[in-house]
Each structure stands twice: as C-alpha cells, then as structure tokens.
C-alpha cells in the first residue's frame, strides 16, 4: 500500500521520471542485470533500459538515479568548449559601471576580488575567487581533459582522478549566485547613481546556462562505457601490432 503510493509519487513528481527499476528479492541469487544502489537511501535496485529522455528514480525515496543514455558526452564536450570561451569573455570585460557626478568607475570580476584583497579581506577575496573563477575554470579544464581524448578514441592518464574532482569543482562553482549578487547590488546602487550593466554580465548569464548544460548532459554511465570501449580498442590495436611484429620471426 505504502509502496504503491511512493511509486506514484515518483511518477508524478515529473513526467520525465519513470520508475523503471525493480527491487531484487531477498535471499535471491545475484541477478544478471547490473545493480544500482540509491545514493540517498542505499536501496539496491536492478538497472533496466529506459526509453529516450527518461529518468529512472528510486523506488523508495524518489531521488533521480540515472537517465537514458544518448550522445550526451559529445554534447557535454560542445557545451564545455563554448563555456570556456564565455568564461574568458566574462572575465576580461567589465561586469558593471557606475556614474556619479561626472565620475565613472567600472569593475571586472578580478578587479572586485582585488578590491577585497586590498582592503585586507583576504579570506573573503579568496572565497569569491575560488567560487566564481577558480571552480568553474577547474571544472571546465577537467571536462576537456577527460572528454577530448575520449572523443579521439584515447583514454587520458588520470581519468579516474579527474572524474572524481569534477563534481567537487561543480559543487563549489557559484557563478549563478554571483550573477544574482551583481543584479541585487546594481538595484541597490540604482537609487544613488547611474548604473551601466557591462557586457560581462550578459556573458555570465550565458556561462551559467552552458555550465548547467555541461553538468546536465554529462552522463557518468556512458562516460565509463566509452572509456572501457576505448581501452578495449587500444588493447586490441596493441595486441594486433605485436602479433604482426612476431609473424616474420616464426
């Protein structure tokens, strides 16, 4: 009775989410299908193939477990490349300007970090730098480091390390919050002076969309499938050349 209600919850929360998973029976032998454990409630479930554009969610607690795979890695790579360009633009142009009685000031993100630093707010400056500049840059660098070689049929050296660090960088990147902060501060100043939103402000807006798109299209399952496929292909190629090299000797 309870279980039925919970599954309904799961389905009604979003049309895109369908509970396609089933629970392995107690005291049963390990089923052949791959198992998946819910990251939030640890419930073991059997992974089943999904129709396109669907998300499977946990039978018990309803959290999203996995999505149907597609060409998501190539899309993630494309978004990441575009995001790099936007990150550079957003950081090299002024975010906003201010005009009061003939005086004009404007600032870039880096300039704002430096202003805090110059006022001996080193920790706050470090926090702003880490969350708005460093984390997104690291996330994108890691994405390119992983996805470019995978696209070219290779496997990067420190694939696992990069894979584990990327979510951390994603978690601490607060570009979206920063953007809202800029808007709020411009509203605050709007009462006192003429504010001029800079081009970087729009670039940050696009950057937020692209970073979200990178995170949304990056699929961990497909990622490891591709890595395994590349590794197998490379092993086969290496084995093939060795055999050929040996042939004349025999």
């Amino acid at each position: 009775m309870l279980a039925a209600r919970r599954m309904d919850n799961c389905r009604t929360r979003s049309l895109q989410r369908d509970a396609q998973t089933s629970i392995p029976k107690r005291n049963n032998a390990m089923p052949e299908a791959p198992l998946i454990a819910c990251p939030e409630c640890d419930l073991l479930q059997v992974e089943t193939p999904l129709p396109p554009r669907r998300t499977a969610c946990c039978r018990r607690c309803g959290v999203a477990l996995y999505r149907s795979s597609s060409d998501s890695l190539d899309r993630a790579l494309a978004f990441a490349l575009a995001a790099v360009v936007l990150l550079v633009i957003a950081n090299s142009l002024p975010i906003a300007g201010l005009e009061v009685t003939g005086q004009h000031t404007e600032t870039t993100l880096w300039g704002a970090v430096q202003a805090l630093y110059d006022q001996d707010r080193v920790a706050v400056a470090g926090l702003v730098f880490a969350t708005t500049l460093f984390a997104p840059a690291v996330e994108l660098a890691l994405m390119l480091y992983m996805l470019v070689p995978l696209r070219l049929g290779r496997v990067p050296r420190h694939l696992s390390l990069a894979f584990r660090l990327a979510p951390l960088a994603h978690e601490w990147g607060l570009v979206d919050v920063f953007m809202l902060g800029v808007v709020v501060s411009l509203i605050k100043l709007g009462n006192l002076a003429t504010v001029v939103p800079g081009i970087a402000l729009w670039s940050f807006g696009v950057l937020i969309l692209l970073l979200t798109a990178v995170g949304a299209s990056f699929d961990a399952r497909e990622f490891w499938l591709r890595a395994a496929a590349n590794r197998a292909a490379l092993d086969r190629a290496a084995g093939g050349t060795r055999e050929r090299a040996l042939e004349p000797a025999t």
Binding site: E40, D42, V124, G181, V184, S185, I187, W224
Partner: protein, 215 residues
C-alpha cells in the same frame, strides 16, 4: 504487506559515491567498513556509509552556529561619504532595500541571507538528532528536507557577492567609498561551514534508522 527493501549495505555490497558502480568489497578485508576499500572502476574510496558522518556534521554545524552571531551582529559593509559614515549589517541592508522601495529585492536578500542560513542550521540539527535517536518518523519528509538543504545552501552566498560588487564599484573618492566589514568574513564562513556540514551528512543514515525499527 510490507515490501522487502534490501540495501546495498545489507547485501554486503558497496556503491561508489563518484561513479555509482556497485561492487563487492575485497574478500581479504573484514567487514564492509574497511577503510581501504576502493572502487574497482574509478578508484574513489567506497564506504558503506560516509566515515564519521555524524561527528563531522556536528563539528561543522557547531562552528557555523558560533559564527552565526558575529555574522549577523558585525557590519558586513562600511559606507563613508563626505557627510557621514554608515555601517551595515545583513539585516540593515535588507531594511534599507525595503525602505527604498525595492520590495522584491529586499525579499530575495532576506530569504537568501537571513532565512536560509538559519533554516539550514536548524534543519541539519533536526536531521542529526533524528538519526541520533534512531527516529523512524517519516523518512521521506526528512530525505526531502535534506535535499532542500543541499540545494538551497549555496544561495546564501548572495550577500557576499553583493558586498564584493559594491566594494569594487563604489570607490568614488569625492562622493562615497564602500569597504567590506568583519561581518563579511563571519558570514562567508557560516555559509561555507553549513555547505560542508550538508556534504558530510549521509542521508542513508535516515533510512537505516527507519529500517532498524521496521524489523
């Protein structure tokens, strides 16, 4: 009829926090709490439950509670103009916005900077206590509470960024100069500490307690 829920931990399996691969811990190690277990696919450390989750979460949470007071009492921003000098705390900043007619913005800042940090501190405390007392009370509600805490926490950083932009822009020597106050550090620390507390908490503990009383 009660559905039979089997968790990975109960089945003697570990799931990887990074790549989600479910694996059997190496036979050599005793029990599944082995500190050396690593994911065979991506090499991340795998644990049945996050190690010392409760102690770590309490530590971050208590530190956040302590800093919450200076974060709200100390000024986060000093404005000095030709005529006067003014110090703003988080709350006085909201009141200023409200009085100047930007009600929507005032509300956003109030929710992000005042309501959210406090709600987050209280919610995490409640979750920790419920796990400590092995409460079986509505695991769904508590799981959703945890999800909300993790999702919303980052937005509390809003005021830090507002101060950052104001400090950078308002450097008009003849009119006004804004500098960051000591409250900014305390407030930033509270936000970071509550984020760390949320990361350290293991939501699977909610369901463990619910299960234990079910059996």
């Amino acid at each position: 009829m009660k559905p039979a829920y089997v968790t990975a931990a109960a089945a003697g399996l570990l799931s990887c926090p990074a790549c989600a691969l479910v694996s059997r811990p190496p036979a050599a190690t005793t029990g599944i709490e082995s500190p050396t277990a690593r994911c065979p696919r991506c090499g991340a450390g795998v644990h049945a439950r996050k190690p010392d989750s409760i102690a770590r979460t309490w530590a971050f949470l208590l530190a956040a509670f302590v800093l919450y007071i200076p974060a709200n009492v100390l000024p986060i921003m000093d404005t000095s103009s030709l005529f006067d000098a003014q110090q703003d705390t988080i709350l006085s900043g909201v009141i200023y916005l409200w009085k100047s007619g930007s009600w929507g913005t005032a509300l956003i800042v109030f929710i992000a900077s005042v309501v959210t940090p406090l709600a987050k501190l209280l919610a995490l405390t409640a979750l920790l206590l419920s796990v400590h007392w092995k409460s079986a009370w509505r695991p769904h509600v508590r799981a959703q509470l945890y999800r909300a805490v993790s999702l919303v926490g980052r937005w509390s950083m809003l005021d830090i960024f507002v101060v950052t932009v104001l400090v950078a822009l308002v450097q008009l020597q003849s009119v006004a100069v804004i500098t960051a106050g000591p409250g900014a550090f305390a407030f930033g620390a509270v936000v970071v500490l509550t984020m760390l507390a949320a990361f350290s908490f293991d939501p699977r503990l909610i369901w463990d307690a619910a299960e234990a009383t079910d059996d």
